[in-house]
Symmetry: none
Subunit: 205 residues, 4 copies
Amino acid sequence: MTPSTPEQASSIREKRRRELLDAAQELFAAKGYEKTNVSDIAARAGVSQGTIYWYFKSKDELLVAVFEDWLAQLAQDYVAIVGQPGTTEDRLRRYARAAARRMQEAEVLIPIETEFWTLIFRNDAIRERFGELFRQFRADIADLFRQGMTSGELRSDINPDHLATIAIAVYDGLVLQWAAEPQAVDWYAITETFVDVMLNGGRER
Amino acid sequence: MTPSTPEQASSIREKRRRELLDAAQELFAAKGYEKTNVSDIAARAGVSQGTIYWYFKSKDELLVAVFEDWLAQLAQDYVAIVGQPGTTEDRLRRYARAAARRMQEAEVLIPIETEFWTLIFRNDAIRERFGELFRQFRADIADLFRQGMTSGELRSDINPDHLATIAIAVYDGLVLQWAAEPQAVDWYAITETFVDVMLNGGRER
Amino acid sequence: MTPSTPEQASSIREKRRRELLDAAQELFAAKGYEKTNVSDIAARAGVSQGTIYWYFKSKDELLVAVFEDWLAQLAQDYVAIVGQPGTTEDRLRRYARAAARRMQEAEVLIPIETEFWTLIFRNDAIRERFGELFRQFRADIADLFRQGMTSGELRSDINPDHLATIAIAVYDGLVLQWAAEPQAVDWYAITETFVDVMLNGGRER
Amino acid sequence: MTPSTPEQASSIREKRRRELLDAAQELFAAKGYEKTNVSDIAARAGVSQGTIYWYFKSKDELLVAVFEDWLAQLAQDYVAIVGQPGTTEDRLRRYARAAARRMQEAEVLIPIETEFWTLIFRNDAIRERFGELFRQFRADIADLFRQGMTSGELRSDINPDHLATIAIAVYDGLVLQWAAEPQAVDWYAITETFVDVMLNGGRER
DNA sequence: TATGAATGAGGCTTCATTCAT
DNA sequence: AATGAATGAAGCCTCATTCAT
């Protein structure tokens, strides 16, 4: 059975597409979208420039594809974590630690995150998808808090949506500080402090 | 009466420089650095393309100038607030509310913030300055917390640097969520929740 | 039952070739040679891009094939008409009316005629073939006039070659005016006027 | 007075524009629009490629400008001739001879005429302008015939518009035959035959 | 025969920067 | 100081053609 069967051909296509996606992601992260040129991507993926256009209609569409790809990974990561059983406190800690771990492991990808954030203001399609991601994510975490309130674990006089918004914001904001001064951000230590304060408050009593 | 005296000439120069800076800031915010071209800036400032090079050595230098300009405003805003007298709690609330107000008032400038963040990864000078800003800012806020610990207002078993890092991160992170879905971020309400939880904790007791 | 016999294979080949030729002709007429790309032709003929090269050595050769095909039709049309028996006047009228009819019926093909005319200047092979066509055509019509002169129907002090050249020129020239303003060219009415004047002259007497 | 005054600056601009127009016209005539590349035009005009875009928004717009320029010359040529005083016969002869002379003198420009004809089918703006030209031209010549009919010089049972259409068509059609076989078209001799037959008819009497 | 993938040359255009005036 | 013109280096993309299956 030669590799000319439809399935194999298509799997080759998938593979090539992924190579291009990976090459693009790395370069976008390393140099930014504007500074990355199509020929660089082609070179890194080991194909000719024209080949890219066999897989993506334009450089822009390639960017969107990278973005979608990245979103997919991201969503998968967190949703799985937040959805696990346990007390709210446990799950909150797990979420926070997973976020910390992800940041540390995927530091090379952080530049591409800020790249996408910038795109949020320039590209309606991307804003839409990003908004959707945040919405879903916020809903999941708010849900976690609501369960804690129902079970009596958490104060019920706090707006769980606001809480979720804050919990998400912290990690995005940390990214920036890390970017400006990596050694100033110890993901794990800050995570512990954050969870502690979120639960117990900073006030002396 | 031509502006031939040195002072006049220099004040005209200042004025023109500011016009160019403003034009550039607006366009960078609106379209991003890469998509903004020198001729656009010239047109918006009402001068010819060549004139820009009488005031700035290059487009890059113009960007850095806009950045410095923006940083100056920013620092002024916050430092003043955090430096005022009062209990730690008061000052924390004030800081948080000032941040909320600033966000709301300067929403049109937010895109330029993400633009700068992206630049953190591409431009060493900007990373350096940004790092400095964060460092100073973190130091000021951590100091605020330390005073609260000394005075017995706050628990003293928490790392004040981590706390400061988190406090700053929240607002940067909120910017992103606002970007993706403006109506989801009510700056003031979230601010109140944030301060409440930071002080009292979310745990039922 | 697969088409494995030589005849069948070859007739399939013929059929496929014709499909490609038709697709190409339509597209060349609609968009022009340069703007038509090989993949468009393939798509319209329902085959893959590579297949075209199984039937034609290059895009250029495909153009020449379309041209030859078109010439063949054209020559067939006219030669038949001019060669029919009758008085010179009858045959002249018949030629003129046939030309008028052809124009009206084949208006969609007119763009491809101008396309070919342009190619006269760029492509030696096409100029050669075109010259041959005109030469033959002119000879046939001049002959018609000569017969009229011999028989006393026409004045014999006129150069029959010039006359033939003019008679042909009129229809080609009309094509252009039709192109620019279709409603201004009533093929049949103009034809009658043309034949009338050619025979009787416009001078009052 | 240095050449920096507005008038001179603008006349320099005019001059440069004309150089570009001429270079483009020559190349379009020689190689056709599609085969001519912007860098060739720049080279022939002795400027850099980018300079062209200081004068024309795109290659397409340059083509249209060449076309307009050519139309202007053309209209000027003929309108002057047809508008002169004299009998209809005189003026008809003059028109025909002027057309013949123009063809002979401007043979290098003929390819660009067919180039434009092709464009008639592809470009609405050009079709519009071309239609306008033909309309005006036809009207002028038809008018000439009408005057001849009024004065009793010409038969009044012929449609002068058709006659005008034919008179114009002949020269456009001759261009094609000339293109295919230059030596077969003797502009002056054919012109005399054409006028003779148009006036006196070809019928023996 | 037929196909889809791949190639690579080259075209149009943009744009930061420089220059002559 | 200021300007409009000019430059030239890329960059994205198209497309005829070839290749592996």
